[in-house]
């Protein structure tokens, strides 16, 4: 169903290929970008329009056990935001945790064509893949939660580095994951086993398995880089949301040294101040470190005002947030692997902490010197829905708009930051980097985030408008793998993207090591654990590096 298309006369923003708003023609054939087509193309006149690669979301929560539990939890959120079907597309429900169909179609209507689910328990991988299969248009993958895996922690404790490496590789294969994810490493055991406490320091060792978060982080950074997974370990640091946590964040980055690491939703980890008291901004300290260390990539996890849903493998954090309103709360423990917490939430302009979080996110964007290593995200739906990306883009591109918005929020919070002093406005080229080219590079997706020959023909075409929120809210055309999905703002066909995963090599003998642990402590049979190839449908193996 892919066509041969000529996109004629558009202003092209393709930062990976050094193209910054040049008017040129692009050609699509067989789902890819080509220099010159072999057959006669259908020409679409896009003159006066802005052409970019399809957006790439490096960190969001869109599929899997916790996401689905958050969906079940909130009929009131779906009810107010129905997603009608069309002749070509399925119906669904919106809100902060949309149904799978609504998720895919809504990403497409923002011009996003790739998204990575950022936290999946290994035992929930099969579920996640089933949901991703029902998530239309976009290509997708997921990061597998291994940072609180009891078996792996035991290997770290015992200094069995080689077995650790093999076991990580086995787990990535067994789950069809894209990379590994660490969430509050070391925090599960105090939560589940010690009456709901948490690990507080990166060097604090658990009584049960005497391993510190730092040792876990170090082991994963080491192993994942050695294995050459396309994306380094994706790290949700300890102490998320706590005042003074920026020290933990700096220590985490220092632990990585000069090895590749990705820091997730770094805004939530950039707080100064004293523990238990109101936070202050530490965006300068964090931005400085990131600026100076090219091995680090991060996504911001911007907070946007309004309804959100906190969903995280960091269960103690969700319990703490539940304490504020005593509203509905979900805790879900996964055997030997993970915790999980879910709390419906709302960020409000007048609340000091919320306004500060909003400001810190913007500071991080504006203080960043290398747009290639700071990715636009809201940690959907934790900081807000991905549907608020266009507004976030306007906040970055439009200083006057930003000033007006700043006036509407808690001024005490604003006055404790330097946000008012930051004059920077992102250019379209920089937006193309932080939403497309940068995340694609951080993920080592060489066929995405650019429009050079051989790239996947994932393309978004916007009408150029002064109001950047309006512009990024409604692309006129969206092309996915060469198929024209949206034309004149309307869906013209349905399309299901592929699963992106990686297959690092490992020594089969590790299976004999994992199996006895599994047989003792898991509740399903070992041969039924790994996800077999029948679940893959359309997929692409991204090579190790």
């Amino acid at each position: 169903m892919t066509e041969c298309i000529q996109l004629a006369g558009g202003k092209v923003y393709d930062p990976a290929n050094g193209i910054d708003g040049e008017v040129r023609d692009l050609y699509v054939e067989q789902g890819c970008m080509v220099e010159t087509p072999s057959s006669s193309p259908r020409t679409i006149d896009v003159s006066g329009m802005v052409v970019m690669p399809g957006g790439v979301d490096i960190h969001c929560h869109i599929a899997g056990p916790k996401v689905n539990l958050a969906r079940k939890l909130q009929p009131e959120d779906h009810r107010r935001d129905p997603h009608p079907g069309t002749e070509h597309t399925r119906s669904g429900a919106g809100g902060t945790v949309p149904s799978t169909f609504a998720t895919g179609y809504r990403y497409a209507t923002l011009g996003y064509t790739t998204a990575m689910e950022a936290a999946v328990t290994p035992i929930g991988a099969r579920h996640t893949i089933e949901e991703l299969h029902d998530t239309p248009v976009i290509d997708k993958g997921f990061y597998v939660l291994l940072g609180n895996n009891i078996f792996l922690q035991q290997l770290i404790r015992d200094g069995r580095k080689e077995e650790f490496r093999q076991a990580v590789a086995w787990w990535v294969n067994a789950t069809k994951a894209y990379t590994t994810k660490l969430v509050n490493p070391g925090g599960d055991e105090p939560w589940k086993g010690k009456k709901n406490s948490n690990v507080k320091d990166i060097d604090e060792k658990s009584d049960f398995i005497p391993v510190s978060p730092r040792q876990v982080i170090d082991a994963f950074v080491d192993t994942v880089n050695e294995l050459g997974l396309p994306h380094p370990p994706h790290i949700h640091c300890n102490n998320l949301g706590h005042s003074g946590n920026f020290q933990t964040t700096l220590e985490t980055m220092k632990t990585a040294g000069d090895r590749r690491a990705h820091l997730a939703h770094i805004q939530f980890h950039s707080y100064a101040g004293e523990l238990g008291k109101n936070p202050k901004s530490a965006s300068r300290e964090i931005a400085e470190y990131v600026n100076d260390h090219p091995n680090i990539t991060c996504d911001v996890g911007q907070v946007m005002f309004g309804k959100s849903t906190i969903m995280t493998a960091d269960a103690p954090l969700a319990y703490m947030l539940r304490g504020f309103k005593k509203g509905k709360w979900v805790n879900a423990d996964t055997e030997c692997e993970s915790g999980c917490g879910i709390v419906p939430f709302s960020y409000q302009e007048h609340i000091y902490v919320h306004a500060l979080q909003w400001a810190i996110g913007l500071e991080l964007f504006l203080l960043s010197k290398d747009p290639w290593r700071i990715v636009l995200s809201t940690d959907h739906p934790n900081g807000g829905s991905f549907m608020s990306y266009p507004k976030l883009i306007r906040l970055l591109m439009d200083r006057e708009f930003r000033r007006e918005e700043i006036k509407r929020v808690n001024q005490k919070a604003i006055n404790s930051t330097i946000l008012n002093e930051l004059e920077r406005e992102y250019t379209l080229n920089e937006i193309a980097i932080i939403t497309r080219a940068g995340p694609a590079r951080a993920l080592n997706l060489s066929n995405k985030g650019h429009l050079g020959p051989g790239a996947d023909a994932d393309i978004t075409i916007y009408d150029e408008m002064a109001d950047k929120e309006a512009m990024f809210n409604a692309p006129r055309y969206v092309i996915k793998s060469g198929a024209l999905i949206i034309e004149d703002h309307e869906f013209r066909r349905d399309y299901y993207g592929k699963l992106l995963h990686t297959e690092p090599g490992y020594d089969e003998s590790i299976v004999a090591e994992v199996r006895p642990f599994f047989e003792n402590y898991y509740s399903i049979e070992f041969p039924n654990y790994a996800v077999d190839d029948s679940y893959l449908h359309d997929h692409e193996v991204i090579a190790t590096v």
Partner: protein, 269 residues
């Protein structure tokens, strides 16, 4: 002259008629009204397929029919004007309404005035479950306005109510005022069981004695100052016995699993 909608055909399957509301019919002639859409199951039909319209809207809609039980969402979201219904109506009557008045000379069923914020609903017969309540999953139900039911209601009346007044002439079912946040519920007849479970604040008043949960505790018997005012207001609609105006009430506070700041007042003679 009011707009009269007289039913000419009975629906075979549930019908959703949220266009039957003053907000949509203002300034429309009878022919225009008949062309407005309604849902009959999954098909989109016209009001005129099921109702004949005469007159024109002057602030009042008269809705008459023998088979309105399947007609849902009458007056949903309305903000002004009056709907007068002759007959028994379907679910979601006045859902989310913010103003105006709905009068039903007949019975209503489940979800009368859910999540309404203002206006008035009066039912001369009975209503069903979840009168003046929240929909599932929502933490706040009715926030304002009033619902008066002359007959009986069933379970979960005023579920998660945060404001306004519900008055029931007959009996209520179980879980009256469950998870209530604020506001007032009067039940002139008998309360069902588990009244006020999970309530944080608000008042539930009954003229009969009632079984209460173990998390409600007796505080005193007294004559609340506001009782006379409320009962005089209710006496415009219900027959309020003189002794209720003059009498004392046993006050129970609860729910102790929550804030313990709600009250249940039972007439004590």
């Amino acid at each position: 002259m009011p707009l009269l909608l007289r039913q000419i055909a009975a629906p075979d399957v549930p019908m959703e008629a949220d266009n039957i509301t003053p907000d949509r019919l203002t300034g429309q002639g009878a022919a225009d009204v008949e062309r407005l859409a309604l849902m009959h199951g999954s098909e989109s039909r016209s009001i005129g397929d099921f109702f004949s319209a005469t007159g024109s809207y002057d602030g009042i809609i008269d809705l008459q029919g023998d088979d309105l039980k399947r007609v849902k969402f009458i007056g949903a979201g309305m903000s002004r004007g009056t709907i007068r219904v002759e007959g028994d109506v379907g679910e979601h009557l006045g859902a989310g309404m913010g103003g105006g008045e709905i009068l039903v000379n007949g019975n209503a069923t489940d979800w009368v005035g859910p999540e309404m914020s203002g206006g008035r609903i009066e039912i001369h017969g009975n209503a069903g479950h979840l009168t003046g309540s929240a929909y599932r999953g929502a933490s706040v139900g009715m926030t304002g306005g009033e619902i008066m039911v002359h007959g009986n209601v069933r379970n979960e009346t005023g579920n998660a109510m945060r404001g306004g007044l519900i008055a029931i002439g007959g009996n209520s079912g179980d879980f009256t005022g469950v998870n209530m946040l604020s506001g007032s519920i009067f039940v002139l007849g008998e309360l069902g069981i588990r009244t006020g479970a999970g309530m944080k604040r608000g008042s539930i008043i009954s003229m009969k004695d009632a079984p209460l949960l173990p998390t409600f505790s007796y505080s005193c018997t007294y004559r609340p100052g506001y009782m006379t005012l409320y009962l005089l207001h209710l006496s415009r609609v219900f027959a309020i016995a003189e002794e209720y105006l003059q009498g004392s009430y046993k006050r129970y506070c609860g729910d102790s699993v929550e804030l313990n700041r709600g009250e249940i007042l039972l007439y004590a003679g």
